[in-house]
Amino acid sequence: MGETPNLQELLRDWPDRPDSLIPVLQEIQEQFHYLPEPALREVAGRLRVPLSEVFHVATFYNCFSLEPVGRHLVQVCLGTACHVRGAPRVLDRLLRDLRLGTPGTTEDFEFTLRTVRCMGCCGLAPVARVDANTHPHLTQAKVPGLLKKYRRKEQAQAAD
């Protein structure tokens, strides 16, 4: 995980104004991997935005999560081109293999599965992104191998 992120340092980068709210939340999400309640309370006070509005913003946008996310973020594109080329089947297979009923985080906190509407790689449909890597031309058959690749990385790192 690295260093524990420091909220005060983070807030110092931004003026104490309401329009800093979304960029500040984006940075907190990036560093903490979710939006912890105490952080949101601090932000509300510093930027002078009512906590109820901060909560609305935090729950309105797809990028923000109030719950910690898993080690690997799997984003499956369900855009039109991907849908037309079979993305729902890839999603179903991922749900089954990760033992999830709906998109969310696995019990062991290894993976968080989310759906996204279009990453702009429509020529490579169906597409999924795992962390920063984009995986093109997915099929159901490729799913187990894909997940295995990321799990293996964990085991290799743990072994060190």
Partner: protein, 617 residues
């Protein structure tokens, strides 16, 4: 980087850059857009670099990465200069051969050339590839030539000359007049006349004034803004600076959606370089014009593509639209006059200044001038970005440029305009594509997404898919959109499951009418379009689902059955290996059967069956 303080400085720098280039020096330009990057372009670049070093050619051959060429299906793609040879589906292991061909009498590597699927011929130059031949790449033409992270490349193709001209010899009114005469219409979706919007903003007495570039390209299936931002960000910046001059704005914003990290990175680099050169900041090129652009990232909400929602998001609020009037040109960001235009609209401005409004107005149809960039995706052989003059027919798009439908399947429909647009049936294939014709057919130009569908797509399922998307992305503020899309989606799901009734069609039409007429913003107002157009053109498909509990396209899971034809099955067992619910039974080398109770109709067996023994009925 020394600051350019005048037009003379700019031209001197441009000339110096061109002089430093040797036009005869070979150049390998590898596409590094998001699509090709995902297909392996970084590995290709690394391999080429290594091969050049091994051959001792790294000083005499230029290697650069460029922006998106638009032909992502065939990626990674690259060009070799000065020949203009186009290679597609390049892999890292091809690097050695490519480098060798540079000395080998410069003969291209045959197997990497594009192969026309119908004629079987190999094509060498990019402009001869059918996908490109019929395009008119006014906005995208430079993507394959320049390194987006190098401002000198942009200067080398004439960049910022339009800005210098405007600052030296135009009045703000003249710029607005040129934009009006060119007939430029907003490329974000609604197609509002840009010149008119600029005029309204200019007439407002309030200050300060703002410019915004809407780069929240949310339509699933559209990625042209992404490509332009990744591949030629300076073209957008130049357009905005000219706009700032014309409209009296000193601050501009670009709002890029969160899902486009590469576009954000390239645009940030371009902003920094423009600032270092003095093309942004104070006293631009000595003209007295001050203008700065700030980049703001979206946080994941389709509705933020709507202009008032986007403005609310910049201000730090949720992306809930506001009623119009007042329009942003009157009261926008922070309550001040704001012009908000799409990425492609801004990029069109330098083109209009460089080539003149009459030239621009000479392209396209009477009501829709200039070129339009479409993302042609779905069931089509050549997927990618296509820039064509307005007025081209669907037939030309699909067959001449798109190369037709793969697998010999039949064209069924084309979804134009994303979730706000509608499905145009194959019978209207000779429709000329422009704003008016599409609106009359019940669809909408939108941002230019064009999804091709064939006989294996169920139109009821398509309508349900779009309604699901809009239901999820609705901001939820106004009642008809929030509840109407939900209820309509429920009715469509019932029909897909074979539980529809005939009255449901009138109900969908009534609800659709009401949502369109009474919703607060464009999202709700256009949400019923996919349903209403599919009801208009594909009613028989709805009726088949309702009256016969049958899905003609064999898509809707509750209405289909998977089975194995015993006479075709050779017992190879391949299907058993991929079936995750153990629904297939059979001994090796004997005919297999599918247990319908366990079958979840995922289609995995269909994908692997060689003798095509798996049937879907």
């Amino acid at each position: 980087m020394p600051r350019l303080q005048s037009r003379a400085d700019l031209e001197a720098r441009r000339a110096a850059g061109l002089r430093a280039r040797d036009p005869a020096k070979p150049c390998l330009a590898v596409c590094a857009g998001s699509g090709c990057t995902a297909s392996g372009a970084p590995e290709v670049l690394a391999a080429l670099r290594e091969s050049l070093q091994r051959a001792g050619l790294e000083g005499s051959v230029e290697l650069k990465s460029t922006g998106c060429h638009g032909f992502c299906e065939k990626g990674p793609v690259m060009l070799t200069w000065p020949e203009g040879t186009f290679y597609n589906q390049v892999a890292a292991r091809d690097a050695k051969e490519i480098v060798a061909s540079l000395s080998n009498g410069r003969r291209p590597v045959e197997r990497l050339l594009y192969r026309d699927p119908t004629s079987g011929q190999r094509v060498q130059r990019e402009e001869d590839v059918p996908f490109y031949r019929f395009q008119q790449r006014v906005l995208f033409g430079n993507n394959g030539r320049i390194d987006p992270k190098n401002i000198d490349d942009y200067l080398g193709v004439g960049g910022y000359a339009a800005l210098a001209n405007v600052l030296a010899g135009f009045t703000p009114e003249q710029v607005v007049d040129w934009v009006k005469r060119a007939g430029l219409r907003g490329r974000g979706g609604a197609g509002f006349p840009t010149g008119k919007k600029w005029e309204v903003m200019r007439a407002q007495p309030a200050a300060p004034k703002y410019l915004i570039c809407n780069a929240d390209e949310g339509d699933p299936g559209a990625f042209m803004d992404r490509s332009l931002l990744e591949g030629n960000p300076h073209s957008v910046i130049e357009g905005m600076i000219i706009g700032a001059f014309a409209l009296g704005a000193r601050e501009g914003y670009i709002y890029v959606r969160a899902e486009y990290p590469l576009a954000v990175e390239h645009f940030r680099v371009a902003l920094k370089q423009a600032e270092e050169c003095g093309l942004l900041g104070e006293n631009i090129l000595g003209s007295g014009l001050d203008f700065r652009i700030r980049l703001v990232q979206g946080a994941g909400a389709f509705v933020c593509g709507e202009e008032t929602a986007l403005i609310a998001s910049i201000e730090g609020h949720v992306g809930e639209p506001l009623p119009r009037p007042p329009f942003p040109a009157q009261k926008g960001l922070w309550g001040k006059p704001t012009v908000i235009n799409n990425v492609k609209t801004w990029a069109s401005v330098p083109v209009i200044v460089n080539r003149g409004p009459e030239w621009y107005a000479g392209i396209g149809t009477a009501g829709s001038k200039g070129t339009m960039v479409f993302s042609l995706v779905g069931k089509i052989n050549n997927t990618g970005l296509v820039e064509v003059p307005m007025g081209i027919t669907l037939r030309e798009m699909i067959y001449k440029i798109g190369g037709g439908i793969p697998g010999g399947k039949q064209l069924k429909a084309v979804q134009v305009g994303g979730p706000s647009g509608g499905c145009i049936p194959a019978s209207l294939i000779d429709l000329p594509i422009d704003y008016e014709a599409l609106t009359e057919a019940g669809s909408m130009m939108g941002s230019g997404g064009m999804v091709v569908m064939d006989e294996t797509n169920c139109m009821v399922d398509v309508a349900r898919y779009f309604m699901e998307f809009l239901e999820e992305e609705s901001c939820g503020k106004c009642f008809p959109c929030r509840v109407g899309t939900q209820r309509m989606r429920e009715v469509l799901t019932r029909i897909c499951q074979g539980q529809g009734a005939e009255e449901d069609l009138k109900l969908l039409e009534d609800l659709g009418w009401m949502v369109r007429e009474t919703s607060l913003c464009g999202l709700g107002q256009t949400a019923p379009n996919p349903v209403l157009t599919t009801l208009r053109y594909f009613r028989d498909e709805y009726l088949a689902h309702i009256r016969e509990r049958r899905c003609p396209a064999k898509v809707c899971k509750q209405l289909i059955t998977y089975s194995i034809e015993p006479t075709l099955c050779d017992g190879c067992h391949a299907c058993v290996h991929v079936c995750t619910t153990e629904a297939i039974l059979g001994e090796k080398k004997a005919a297999h059967t599918i247990d319908a109770a366990k079958c979840i109709k995922c289609g995995a067996c269909l994908e692997v069956c060689q003798p095509k023994a798996v049937l879907v009925t």
